[in-house]
């Protein structure tokens, strides 16, 4: 539960900030990171494991183009507030659902549904609609403008702990 970034060591900050876009495809990616950071590979592996365990790093690995495997859509529900927690928990339990966010809007539950094909996706959306009693917004990506180069996490002003 990090409220500030100041709690990360300098090594952790660099691991978080400096490898957001261009790890080379190499048989030894962690040794490559270690070489850039001037530490040994084991230190990188242990530090990354710690950052993953505390949730600061989502993952280290390939970032795939959406819909590279199966199909997906962004779905939203307008859930009556008293039922929100119950519906959110039920939706979360579906294996096809990820990236579920509660948002401040009439449409207050937003999540991504991924399935093998459009038929399965429709079946999942129907199931959600039937169970929740709320109509589902089905907003599949038509085009994406993906420039994402990662952005500067800007640790410096937060102070550093060595």
């Amino acid at each position: 539960m990090s409220e500030s970034t100041g709690q990360y060591t300098e090594l952790e900050q660099r691991l978080l900030n400096d490898f957001q876009q261009d790890l080379p495809l190499s048989p030894t990616p962690y040794a490559d990171m270690a070489a850039r950071l001037g530490v040994d590979e084991q230190t990188v592996l242990e530090t990354l494991a710690g950052l993953q365990a505390c949730g600061a790093v989502s993952r280290v690995g390939p970032v795939f183009r959406p819909n590279s495997i199966g199909v997906s859509t962004l779905a939203a529900l307008a859930v009556p507030p008293p039922a929100l927690e119950r519906v959110a928990a039920w939706v979360n339990a579906l294996p096809q659902v990820n990236h579920n966010y509660e948002r401040e809007h009439e449409f207050n539950l937003w999540f991504v549904v991924t399935a093998a094909d459009r038929d399965e996706l429709d079946a999942v959306l129907d199931q959600i609609e039937a169970w929740s009693g709320c109509p589902v917004l089905d907003l599949p990506m038509l085009e994406d403008y993906f420039i994402d180069l990662g952005f500067d996490l800007n640790f410096a002003p937060q102070g550093r702990r060595q």
Binding site: T5, L16, R59, R65, Q158
Partner: protein, 170 residues
Amino acid sequence: MSEALATATPLDGEALEQRLIELTQQGLPLVPHPYHQLAGQLGVSSEAVMAAFRAMQARGVVRRIAAVPNHYRLGFRGNGMSVWDIPDEAVREAGREVGALDCVSHCYIRPRALPDWPYNLFAMVHGRDRDAVHEQVAAIAQILGGRVRSHDVLFSTEVLKKSGFRSAAT
């Protein structure tokens, strides 16, 4: 996950790529030779694994290889989903312009769902707090100018689940 080991013919081509996507969408193994480990799991050579990733990079299926931070956990609590109603004939150019902005991590065209949902352009805006996000959304509104029929920004109050395949969405 062991059924691949029982496969009589070695994996290649599309089947190998599919298995590699499944195995790595949550990240590479944290071991010194992660691609060798994947090769062992799938019963193929590490050269075949590297070649499959090279091919996926060349086709754009793999956009990059990266350490992906969890911005929310790192204090970027603004996380606003800005949504825009842009005339269809102008939305692609608008998407290119907005997607190129530093504060925007993802930008998508999606269908409207009238009458409930008039917005066809989505741009994820990140900032340390809501004020920062509001400022950036105002700047985007200025850039888009008269093309904006209406817009809104939805803040997340809670991340309820974040897992699985998704790299680049919402």
